[in-house]
Amino acid sequence: MLSGLFVPNTFDYMIAGYVVLSVVLTIYIASIARRWKKAVAEYHLYQEEK
């Protein structure tokens, strides 16, 4: 009967969830970007040697 009146406050958990999601995805995307830049730099290095 009262269940409709009191919604449990699980706000913090929701925030924690979305923070984890954003942080992990950001780290992964950054990792791809960093490896890409490194590969491009090496590519130019070897191209110049030619």
Binding site: N9, T10, Y13, G17, Y18, R35, W36, Y43, E49
Partner: protein
């Protein structure tokens, strides 16, 4: 090789937009679930990331078969990329599942068959990466990885079925008989919209990420070739 294809840029923008819209739907359009509160909103992206994990898993299996058939390096690169992405997304899905479980069932881990199988898949990926790191010959590395990915592709569904059967024969009573206390909830129309749109957004995001990752793999492979040529010239 270095120039970014325009379609990829378009895909970047599309996936970014779709994820933003999905987030908007989740936070502002879908209602707050009555019995669980706000944490239920974690569910949308929890399933979406697990979905991406599954997509990556299947791509890895298919890439394995294709590599064995064609011996074209791009399939090995695709397989590794798919495994990498799937690893990250399953990890997020498991963590989100844990965060969702904690306030509702007062436990961090529920031995749910799907999450348990996801954890096992993570172990298979770890084994896959260890296998690769133990092989220096690129041809062998590619072939063996492909074979392991194919084996994983067949074993995981069987594992999932086994675990599922394990639990139905010995059901774990979590709470009262109500669906809500067992973690279920009914989705109304706005929730369904948010749910399916999240799945779609993350699917596009997966394609986008995979393309980027494959590009990276191809460039790294080219750089490796150049490096070897350069050493040979020196000697």
């Amino acid at each position: 090789m270095l120039e970014k294809p325009r379609l990829l840029t378009f895909l970047d923008i599309l996936s970014g937009l779709m994820i933003l819209i999905a987030a908007g739907l989740v936070f502002f359009y879908a209602p707050v679930e009555q019995l669980m509160g706000q944490v239920q909103k974690v569910f949308y992206f929890h399933v979406a990331t697990a979905w991406v994990g599954m997509l990556g898993f299947m791509v890895a299996g298919v890439a394995g078969v294709q590599y064995l058939r064609t011996e074209q390096e791009k399939w090995d690169i695709a397989g590794l990329g798919a495994v990498e992405i799937s690893l990250v997304f399953f990890m997020v899905a498991i963590i989100l599942g844990s965060i969702w479980a904690r306030p509702i069932w007062n436990t961090w881990w529920t031995w749910d068959p799907r999450l348990t199988t996801a954890a096992i898949v993570e172990l298979i990926y770890a084994a896959y990466l260890l296998l690769r790191s133990g092989l220096d010959d690129p041809g062998k590395r590619a072939r063996f990885s492909a074979i392991y990915a194919i084996f994983g592709f067949f074993s995981v569904p069987l594992t999932f079925i086994s675990i599922r059967l394990l639990r139905t024969i010995h059901p774990v009573v979590i709470g009262s008989a109500e669906a809500a206390s067992q973690g279920g909830f009914n989705m109304d129309a706005p929730m369904r919209t948010a749910f399916f749109f999240s799945l779609a957004a993350f699917s596009v995001f997966f394609a986008d990420l995979l393309w980027h990752r494959i590009r990276l793999g191809k460039l790294q492979s080219k750089v490796n070739l150049l490096r070897i040529e350069s050493y040979e010239k020196e000697s």
